[in-house]
């Protein structure tokens, strides 16, 4: 009887552990156009330039997508260790430059990066190495990565910030986005600019 009881407890614990994994995986579905973005809370950047870029005000330690001053935010899921992300870094920097230079999009379309499995140190190494001008947030325990379906990297998610405080995914793509001018036009339309 004692043996059955012990086995039952073990089975329950094992089932719970497996279920928690399954639930985490189920929570994380790869974003698709038309979806509402998963709940994304990020730490307020330590650098003033990053806070200014995002238009963050207030004294909180974290912020949400709705707090960013923009019509549209392009999220890049990347990793310092990903060779494709390394190769794409200059292209994404050029997109950022093009956005800032264009009066129609400057200040209205923002880019942020999320370093899947990367520590703060690793994210800063990536930024420094490639001169990344936009904020990149560490995701050391893959929490955000899991929420977006454990996508391969780089993965780009364009998110329109709606006036009602919700966020809609307008584009989601794996790998490079191709030519900067064409992609910028796509983002402009998605942002309603």
């Amino acid at each position: 009887m004692k043996r059955i009881l012990v086995l039952a407890v073990a089975a329950a614990v094992a089932a719970a552990a497996l279920l928690s994994g399954a639930t985490a995986a189920a929570q994380g579905v790869q974003p698709r156009p038309g979806d509402r973005l998963f709940d994304l809370t990020l730490p307020v950047p330590g650098e003033r330039a990053d806070r200014n870029y995002l238009g963050l005000s207030g004294w909180g330690k974290t912020f949400r997508m709705a707090d960013i001053k923009a019509n549209l935010v392009l999220i890049e899921i990347l990793s310092m260790y990903c060779p494709f992300c390394q190769k794409e870094a200059p292209v994404v920097n050029r997109l950022h430059e093009a956005i800032e230079k264009d009066p129609a999009t400057g200040g209205k379309i923002k880019i942020i990066g999320v370093g899947a499995g990367n520590s703060s140190y690793e994210v800063e190494v990536f930024r420094k190495k490639y001169g990344v001008p936009f904020p990149v947030f560490p995701d050391p325990d893959y929490d955000i990565h899991k929420k977006c379906g454990e996508v391969r990297t780089p993965f780009f998610i364009a998110v329109r910030l709606n006036p009602d405080g919700t966020q809609s995914v307008t584009h989601a793509r794996l790998g490079g986005f191709g030519e900067v001018p064409a992609f910028l036009e796509t983002l402009k339309k998605a942002a309603g600019l």
């Binding site: 073990a10 390394q86 899947a116 690793e122 190495k129 899991k146 990297t153």
Partner: protein, 198 residues
Amino acid sequence: MTKTAALIILVLAFALGTSALAQTHSEAYKDNIYSTGGLKPVDSVLKVKVGDRAPDFTLPSIAGQMVALGQYRGKKNVVLSFVPAAWTPVCSDQWPGYNIVKDLFDASDAILLGITVDNIPTLYAWTNQMGHLWFPVLSDFYPHGKVAEAYGVLRSDGTAERALFVIDKKGGIRWIDVHDINKRPPLESLVRELEKLK
């Protein structure tokens, strides 16, 4: 009751190991990464310790040369990075990170030697997906895992541990990290040790 306890441990280890697994793959490898699932974190017993003289070896590199640990003695500090196997999840996203921080190795007058137990053609094809690597990639394929065995990082399935060894110019072992095979060692841990060599 002993059998029952063993069964419980097995079931729990499997369940917890599976649920804890998290990793990312670069699109550079497309669908070519073989999923290993959760593995026993460490499956070998170290044969060296900090302060020991590092066992010497000579191994073929993917560049077609033979590389000996001894050739760096008195000239360079050496970091050995054993990774378990080509075309597997965490390994494929480890060396590309080291590839962008050559300056950090240079600052400590250190060379990196990447080692797996795969053969040269496999290593060649795999590392080609990472872009041009600045450090030698060595094959500990034949006699299989001889160097990994000498350091005590050869696992029972014939793969190597995910292990880092920092060796100074005198050939002494300064730091060892036999990491959980399922996780990538944080870069800052290695850099901290490199800085101690300055």
